[in-house]
Symmetry: C2
Subunit: 219 residues, 2 copies
DNA sequence: ACCTGAACACCGTTCAAGT
DNA sequence: ACCTGAACACCGTTCAAGT
């Protein structure tokens, strides 16, 4: 209860405020100056807590990942397939919650404790299924990639909902008529209704688990 | 050969210059003002060609995708597995060539002609393997997601190579010791040497093709 | 149609100075 | 240790005006 050496505000307060601005006003509002103002601070005071804007972004990634329950994913009583699926779904949900998540995630390596904890659980789970350490690491990476990739495509599609740029009127435009793509057009509505995240993840896990010699793969 | 109505510069020139700046000086250099200066134009003149910076970014995505040979991927003489693999590899190579590619790709929906052409080939290929249109669309989306996801993870890792932010000295830091993740640490070098892109893609395609009733899946 | 110049409302980051 | 104020070198975008 003794008063700590640091006054007024903590790193966690700054990250929380940054997320609030991200939700309320979008990624552009997540600026050193904007967050500082929201906290009643001067922009320069921010550099007491984070060495750069990028350091703040990476702290936000860690906070985002910290809300995922890795403990449940480590519970060996539940079959592995169910645990990876839950983990991937949770990660996907967190990434989908904020439009700017992809920029956050690519702000630096996923090497914070929460990111490493997630990787650890994934590699451990695949290893327990009979994979070699190298295959388990590649499998974990593939699952990360799939989830991040779906999040990226989702984010890109949402980005287009507001303000579509129009082609510049004359015949020299780079864009051509989209009616030339019948298969894409025919399946666009179906893809929108059910984006197939779960289905694709199941197929990926099918392929990954079929790689283990003594196949224990789930349905 | 008659002189066109538009003088000095074309949309394609602007996109080319933007890519040159991206390669030479990184994503931060791809600004309306920066590209304009490199072309000897005033920033405001840029708005004659593109309605916004985002429109320029999306044109860059299309130019990036235009270098992928979709024709070869449509050649039914070659087995489908080989064609998807080549297509995904080419896309991955293009995305890896520029550090800022992920920001580009998430600047809006992948709905330009080149992006749609790629989707069309993917959906068509999976359909020809015996998939329902819906499954083929989901499979195409899964392949996109996997490739974009690997590119995102790669970009994130490269972003960390320059300028690592240090934790802020005291015990209240958000970051903990990375030595607590033995599996991740043990496989980190292997993952760096061979990122498993091809292996993971093969597993994904295994899983996807195993979904077709009369299985024609390749090794 | 294409381009300029001036202006508006912002950025991240550094530095010297205060307490 | 934490914070302020002033400054530097930038942004995207709009508007009125020129040719």
């Amino acid at each position: 209860m003794r008063p700590g050496p640091r006054r007024s505000i903590s790193q966690a307060d700054i990250v929380d405020t940054a997320f609030r601005l991200l939700e309320e006003k979008g990624f552009a509002a997540v600026s050193i100056r904007g967050v500082a103002a929201a906290l009643g601070l001067t922009p320069t005071a921010m550099y007491t807590y984070f060495a750069s804007k990028n350091a703040l972004l990476r702290a936000m990634v860690e906070q985002l990942l910290s809300t995922i329950d890795v403990g449940a994913a480590s519970d060996a009583e539940v079959i592995w397939r169910g645990r990876v699926t839950a983990l991937a779904g949770a990660l996907r949900t967190r990434l989908a919650a904020h439009a700017g998540s992809m920029v956050l995630v690519t702000s630096g390596p996923l090497d914070g404790p929460n990111a490493l904890g997630l990787s650890e659980v994934l590699i451990g789970g695949f290893t327990a299924e009979g994979m070699t350490p190298a295959d388990a690491a590649h499998s974990a990476r593939a699952v990360w990639a799939y989830v991040l990739g779906i999040a990226a495509v989702d984010a890109a599609e949402r980005a287009g909902e507001l303000g579509h740029a129009r082609p510049p009127s004359d015949g020299e435009t780079l864009w051509t008529d989209a009616a030339a793509f019948p298969l894409t057009a025919a399946t666009a509505d179906a893809a929108r209704a059910d984006d197939g995240f779960g289905w694709g993840l199941d197929r990926l896990l099918d392929g990954l688990t079929s790689a283990v010699p003594a196949a224990l793969s789930a349905p």
